[in-house]
Amino acid sequence: MKNYKNDFPFFENVSDIYFDSAATSQKPKAVLDKLKEYYTSYCANTHRGSHDLGNRATREYEEARETTREFINAQQTEEIVFTKGTTEAINLIASSFVSQRFKTLILSRLEHHSNIVPWQLNGFKEGENLFIIPMNDDLSINLKAYKELLKEHPNSFVSVTHVSNAFGIINPVRELTYLAHKYDSTILVDGAQAIAHIDVDVKELNVDFYVFSAHKMFGPTGVGVLYGKYELLNQTKPYQGGGTMIDDVSFEKTTYLNPPHRFEAGTQNIAGVIGFKEAIKYINDIGYNEIVRHDMQLIRYANSELKKIDSLRLFTDSDNICGNISFNIDGIHHNDIGVLLDKQHITLRTGHHCALPAMKYLGVDGSVRVSFTIYNTIEEIDIFIKALIRAIGMLK
């Protein structure tokens, strides 16, 4: 198994084991260098002017858009909108596309708060116009129940996560999309946890919207992507008003640019977007074949080692998981485990993982989550398991 740590300057300074990449990933040197390049060689505002410096920055920024298009195999560059993150992307679609156009919304039970609260802010409420897809015992989506829901509520908007941030469950996006379309519904897929682990092809999946965050895929903080089919984006109202999203402005009447610029009001996170391009290149250079192989090896090994621990409860037995594993220890609070692992220099997450409805449904108020990516190793898992056993011993 290749060791990718050398690509990440973080590990020169920090010797802790980092198992919290599902929260945010470390950044390869190429990304940091690119940020610096922008700030020190062509730092200027974009899309405004005629000067060379600004044109250079604009070119780099727009190249990031084209790189993103190619990365997820969108049809047109204009289908890529840059946002602050997944959260903003979902809020944008909820507020400017779904609200007032769709009467009913369908979510899964495993959604992150970022795919629940935006809908509530836009008037969707369980029992009234928000429906939750039942799940099977292994936390996978109950496709039959989903189909029934769609049958009962055609013309719905469906918003589901590609990969669960709390349990690593991979949802069958192609089937979910196929069924949604069959019942005249439109679907958004939250790819925040998928994009670093799964080769996403939006054309093949045929999803209507796909959203993700740069910071979870080796990119800078403060950058997200909203992919939308052009004809749908073109029906989407402006979300924020401001500079460089307008065609003409007067106090009486303002006309807007076409997508994607209509949705990028004001000065964007220019450095972040330009740096993000390098994150994509980093992934492309390694290749998803290698990434998937690497990630799967880690997750399978961790899963099998965790299962050996008495009193450890995994939330799912499914093999169809990626990125992260959640567990609890009978009789021990997840937070106690987290603190003692942290003191042993293992960084991972405990708590509800911003998925309270799922936690409540499962009757727990949190879990311990380990998440893995390219720079993690089998040896780290061995150290982690030892540390975990020590922690359990101290707390029993």
Partner: protein, 141 residues
């Protein structure tokens, strides 16, 4: 300066441990030792919410002193709660308000003083000061 002295004492105790894991063994012991809070206080009204764990806190005044009793669903937090109680309970309003909460930094337990917005122990600490303020009739809570 009773609070300051108590903090000094606990901080001395904690500094006896070279090994951080031993320190936490001690805190866990303190967690085991903390008397359980009467169930009637384990309700939402007494709950100090945290992202990670819940703390229930009961505070009352008796003979010009403030008393605190608390519990948590997490063991290490119980240990930390135990420490906070041994520092703050049975002090006067003045003693508490004259000891800035940052004094606790001496303990070297960043579980207590963190910038985190949703830490149960941290929230308990805030409540202790709020309670002291309310008894002083102050408004700067």
């Amino acid at each position: 300066m009773i609070i300051r002295e108590r903090i000094k004492e606990i901080s001395n105790n904690l500094s006896l441990f070279d090994d951080v894991m031993q320190k936490y063994e001690y805190i866990i012991e303190l967690g085991h030792e903390l008397p359980s809070l009467d169930n009637k206080y384990k309700t939402d009204a007494y709950r100090v919410k945290g992202c990670q764990s819940n703390v229930w806190l009961n505070a009352y005044e008796k003979e010009d002193k403030l008393f605190f009793e608390a519990d948590s669903d997490a063991l290490i937090v119980r240990g930390l709660v135990n420490i906070l109680i041994s520092i703050y309970s049975s002090n006067s309003v003045g003693e508490i308000l004259n000891s800035p909460s940052t004094l606790l930094e001496e303990l070297g337990l960043n579980e207590i003083i963190t910038a985190g917005r949703q830490n149960g122990v941290n929230s308990m600490l805030k409540r202790i000061y709020q309670f002291a303020h309310s008894k002083k009739g102050g408004i700067n809570v």
